[in-house]
């Protein structure tokens, strides 16, 4: 039986959702006009006034915000509330440029935690569950977000944070944890460790996992599910919009429902900024219509994906987003071809290798080189050089047909790629351009 945390919203008729969105959007635009001079200036430059926004259909009249705006307005330029009304900040790692600092009022924290509670409930969580949160706690939104959601659902929450893998396993075993929240790469690492210690899927108390904060493939999902004996659910979010829980997966495990009462999604052509019809692939743009302290309007996520309002078997009416192929920040342009690490991961797993890999891009004699380094596994090893080479060749051909460009495959010793306790480092780009 499908469970809902806030059924009246999650399964609301479309017209009702639209009217909630219209109401909140109008209010939000007025709030931003009155309280965020940085955005008001952008509106004035575009010749838009709050009264021009009468319904969700008018969203397209508003100017975009981008990562560059966050940089230019750092730290307080996009703040919508006096600091005395704010209760928390969260921040990104800053690996792709200057770090983002996002502000929250108590209202903002509440709605964020509600979103995470919806995700945990959709994964089957109830107050009977023991939920281990192995996302990092601190400035990173993963830990605090799922921790809050887990409290709201009433799960017994184990705030292990990330790292110390054997202690994670001890808590899962000793307290019979049923739900695990962490990055997919860390889930894969935990699964590997469980296997090493001799645990089969039936020996592990976990039944569900909520994994997000980085791109991961369907093949990796299948691997984690098989090894841990769980259902693995995707969760999506950005610090700029609150954190994990902007969208979450349901029992259908085919795309993530966007919490549309808080966030309006659009897909645009990243080059022309033109809004694309439903079902088109493009850049995801979000408007936070309920957040007070950090009210992002038409924020360009740089995530490439599709939206679909097809009827979902879980009963939710919230629009679904497909798993993003990756952030356009993660996208590599190699010899002029767009390459996402998630595509490479798919090929590796399809060919029987594990998701322990690294992608090294370099430029030699003015030509880009792509080296896919993957660890040898007992399953892929034989004493026969020809067979191992044959596997390697098949992998190389698989990469060529997926990516359209040639890749070198390097087989590495086991455990030679550092395991990640948070977001995995998949790409080493040595090109000096």
């Amino acid at each position: 039986m499908e469970r809902y945390y806030q059924k009246e919203i999650e399964c609301a008729p479309l017209e009702e959702l639209r009217s909630i969105q219209t109401e909140k959007l109008k209010k939000q635009v007025q709030h931003v006009w009155d309280n965020v001079p940085y955005y008001r200036k952008k509106m004035e430059e575009k010749g838009v006034k709050p009264e021009d926004i009468q319904s969700v259909d008018d969203l397209g009249k508003l100017p975009f915000l981008s990562k560059k705006d966050l940089r230019d307005a750092y730290p307080y330029g996009l703040l919508g509330k006096p600091l005395k009304d704010c209760v928390r900040i969260q921040s990104t790692s800053g690996t792709t440029g200057k770090r983002v600092v996002a502000f929250y009022t108590q209202h903002d924290i509440d709605l964020w935690e509600d979103c995470c509670a919806r995700a945990i409930t959709a994964a089957g969580g109830t107050d009977e569950d023991v939920c281990q949160v192995s996302y990092g706690y601190g400035l990173f939104t993963g830990g605090p977000g799922l921790n809050g959601g887990s409290h709201k659902v009433g799960c017994l929450t184990i705030p292990t944070s990330s790292g110390n893998t054997d202690r994670q396993i001890m808590f899962i075993n000793d307290l019979s944890a049923t739900i695990l929240c962490c990055t997919p790469s860390y889930a894969a690492y935990l699964a590997e460790r469980f296997k090493e210690l001799g645990y089969g899927p039936n020996d592990i108390s976990l039944k569900a996992g909520i994994f997000g904060a980085e791109a991961w493939s369907e093949e990796m999902r299948a691997d984690i599910e098989k090894t841990l004996g769980i259902k693995a659910y995707d969760i999506y979010g950005l610090t700029e919009l609150s954190g994990p829980g902007v969208a979450f997966e349901c029992s259908a495990q085919g795309g993530m429902h966007i919490n549309e009462d808080h966030f309006i999604a659009e897909i645009i052509d990243p080059d022309t900024e033109e809004v694309l019809p439903e079902g088109s692939q493009g850049e995801l743009v979000f408007t936070a219509i309920d957040k007070e302290a950090f009210p992002m309007i038409r924020y360009r996520t740089r995530d490439i994906c599709k939206l679909s309002r097809e009827k979902c078997s879980c009963g939710r009416t919230l629009i679904k987003m497909a798993k993003p192929m990756g952030r356009s920040d993660d996208m590599l342009i190699i010899r002029g071809v767009n390459v996402f690490p998630s595509q490479i991961e798919t090929v590796l797993l399809n060919n029987g290798y594990a998701a322990n890999y690294q992608i090294v891009v370099d430029r030699v004699n003015n030509t880009d080189t792509l080296d896919v380094q993957v660890e040898m596994t007992p399953e892929m090893f034989t004493d026969n050089v020809g067979e191992v080479e044959e596997h390697q060749k098949k992998l190389s051909e698989g990469l060529k047909s997926m990516l359209g460009i040639k890749a070198k495959v390097s087989l590495l010793a086991p455990k030679s790629i550092a395991r990640s306790e948070g977001k995995a480092v998949r790409v080493i780009d040595k090109r000096k351009i």
Binding site: P378, V385, Q392, S410, A413
Partner: protein
């Protein structure tokens, strides 16, 4: 009558083989015979020891990918034509050799020993039996 060979994956980078020999040394494992197959991208070390199961577990604990392979160890006289005569038997019996290397032994009785990897060890054994060959067992290995 076959014996177990340990096959170990080696990444193509300086120091990999040394890491393998260090693990063997630290765990007091005597490598009785070794052979290295290499491509431009990786290598496979093939090793004969007295206790193959114990050694393969030690290697796995030390983060090597290692597996056990059945191979034939056959005694030949250490003299000109010794191997040639043996291979006559293989050819007559229609046994295809995938790879082969020498096993030095400890210099007993002027004998040499050869290790053979064939596609189907059991079938090859059946074809070679009764041809006057001395096929070694795992116990024999420890004693030569």
């Amino acid at each position: 009558m076959s014996i177990k060979q340990i096959s170990v994956f080696l990444e193509n980078k300086p120091g990999t083989l040394k890491k393998l020999t260090s693990v063997m040394a630290k765990n007091n494992i005597d490598m009785r015979a070794t052979s290295l197959a290499e491509t431009k991208d990786f290598g496979i070390a093939r090793i004969i020891v007295d206790d193959a199961l114990d050694a393969v577990n030690t290697l796995k604990e030390n983060d090597f990918v290692a597996s056990l392979t059945s191979v034939l160890a056959i005694e030949i006289p250490d003299e000109a034509g010794g191997l040639d005569k043996l291979l006559d038997v293989f050819a007559d019996a229609q046994v295809n050799i995938e790879y082969m290397y020498a096993f030095p032994g400890r210099g007993v009785n002027n004998h040499a020993y050869m290790i053979f990897r064939v596609a189907d060890t059991k079938a090859a054994e059946a074809k070679l039996v009764g041809k006057g060959l001395k096929i070694l067992t795992q116990e024999d290995i420890a004693n030569i």
